[in-house]
Symmetry: C2
Subunit: 345 residues, 2 copies
């Protein structure tokens, strides 16, 4: 199959550090190439891929201080994609609403994976083009009231090979928290759970500019560097070490997480996950097997001892069988075939 993949331009493929979308694009694209598809990746010029790379700027926009108007590069990239659309059987966009609008000018079908959340503003354009083929990354991500033409749900997958399994957690036991230090990820809630149980908590994740005040006022005062440690933004290797050594990973989110990559990263290393049951959480954790799904912080505190005892092999196997790159790619291939069949009939 001749496939175009469109990645956001803000971050490189694969991302230098944080960048869930670009990581998924990397894994999917390389696996499609491995399976014999002819893949063209439209992405930032510094991307690394087994596919044919096409770009309009040599660097990830995030890394270039001269970038004042990212829209210019988006329009140029999308014009490039859709001017050569006839060369592809299917176009797969991870780009968001701009590609949605451009794709309506092409006969080649585009499937749109939505990686983020809806906002009162972006809902307008999704409604406007609701008839386009969409893929959700979880069932809970869908908003039925928008009436969008979802053709499939494809869960994110990871390369389980780079998340080394650890059969026993490090001693003394500690809890892990990995994610942006922002209210919706629940770092304050994680600290509350750690304090109530007396277990050490190791936290890692970046602090976005918009979250600096939140960090300074609500998180930093609770970090004592002993029981509650904040390691800053960590590398992939450090993250794997942090997760695999933990006795339990906390995921006390306060919003409707569309997927939650860190849950599968943790389980892949063998570490079960104790999570708040919002958004995609019930689709990602096997309750009572690879973690527990709770609805209050009090319940999460109560469940810590039981969650720590869950079988680490089960966690690992669960991810390998359900959230691998291979499974994700199988499902995307099915989605591509669906839109192609529809086009031919």
């Amino acid at each position: 199959m001749k496939i175009a993949q469109i990645s956001p331009l803000w971050e490189r493929v694969p991302p230098f550090r944080y960048g869930g979308i670009e990581l998924i694009v990397k894994l999917l694209t390389d696996e499609l190439v491995r399976r014999g598809h002819e893949v063209t990746l439209f992405a930032s010029g510094d991307s690394i891929t087994a596919a044919k790379l096409k770009s309009v700027h040599q660097k990830a926009l995030r890394l270039d201080p001269n970038i004042k108007e990212p829209g210019i590069y988006e329009h140029m990239l999308l014009a490039d994609v859709y001017h050569q659309a006839h060369n592809f059987d299917v176009i797969h966009s991870h780009f968001g609403y701009s590609a949605l609008s451009y794709s309506t000018f092409s006969k080649t079908p585009t499937v749109h994976t939505l990686h983020g959340s809806f906002t009162p503003e972006n809902e307008k354009i999704f409604r406007r083009f609701a008839w386009q083929p969409f893929i959700s990354i979880s069932e809970s991500q869908r908003e039925p009231r928008l009436g969008m033409n979802y053709i499939h749900t494809v869960y994110n997958g990871i390369d389980t090979g780079v998340y080394s399994f650890q059969s026993e957690p490090v001693q003394p036991a500690y809890l892990a928290f990995v994610g942006r230090i922002s209210p919706e990820k629940g770092p304050v809630e994680a600290i509350k759970i750690a304090r109530a149980t007396g277990l050490p908590l190791k936290m890692a994740g970046k602090i976005d500019v918009v979250d600096k005040t939140f960090y300074r006022e609500q998180v930093e005062p609770l970090i004592d560097g002993e029981q509650i440690q904040y390691l800053g933004e960590v590398t992939h290797e450090e993250k794997v070490q942090l997760l695999s050594g933990a006795t339990l990973t906390l995921f006390p989110i306060t919003w409707r997480e569309p997927f939650g990559l860190v849950m599968i990263e943790s389980m892949a290393t063998g570490t079960p996950v104790l999570a708040m049951g919002l958004g995609a959480v019930p689709e990602v954790i096997a309750h009572g097997k690879t973690g527990f799904i709770c609805h209050t912080i009090e319940k999460m505190i109560e469940m810590v001892p039981q969650a720590m005892k869950l079988d680490r092999h089960t966690c690992r196997e669960y991810v390998v069988s359900r959230f691998s790159v291979e499974t994700m790619t199988d499902e995307y291939e099915r989605a591509y075939e669906m839109v192609l069949r529809k086009k031919l009939t």
Copy 2:
């Protein structure tokens, strides 16, 4: 002729106060309708026009505090325009580079009027689509090195009826400055000229957020409320009164002004213009007749007495014959015919 006009969405057509592009769109659109064309105006939903209005949001984006992602509305508007492009003979865009990219997906020709200046970033997309038909608003606005397909230059026009002619300036005599209070418009230079000549200076114009520091540090200390007065942002009526009563309007710009609407507004009221010879200035002022074109501030100071003596009727007639809505519309009709002829051959 069936014509679509695409206006920026940030400001209403016509603008509430400041908004040169939206004013030109208003005048051109209504005059085309008056001449019997079937015109559809794509603009903000609160626009007022004799044409058929199509919009994607009920308000000018600038006036709606809920607007966080203007790009959403731009994409929806441009998709609307180009999905119905087959209903038009010609599309005329005042929208900038986004419409440039979209227009390449349509068989209906789009002529693009560039109202602004080039930047190192937007040059990239103009080069990319250099073969599209462009209209410059002055000869000096063009950048030959970009190799763009300019089909015509059309000077801005104004409704001379709303700029009442005043045969004698107000006594005691004063100088006028109308424009954004920003370094490129030369407010500090205007004050320097006024001080050197001893004449009072009345200044009006908005202060953009980016220019607040410039105003506070470099302009405000020079305003004494007596000889040097700053009136803030004024209404159209106040602007006409300010210009028509002046003995001379100063236009001491420090950048390549692409057109300079205030020069023709001033001359329409009878007031000559003393200007720095940058950008479009030599194309807009008749040197020695409706103003003087200088190349240093010292020369401008020296020319004030002579400039004050220029004939006010000549100034008025010059604008009526060269920069009226009728002339502008004649020239745009010619441009539309050019692209249509090219399409048919």
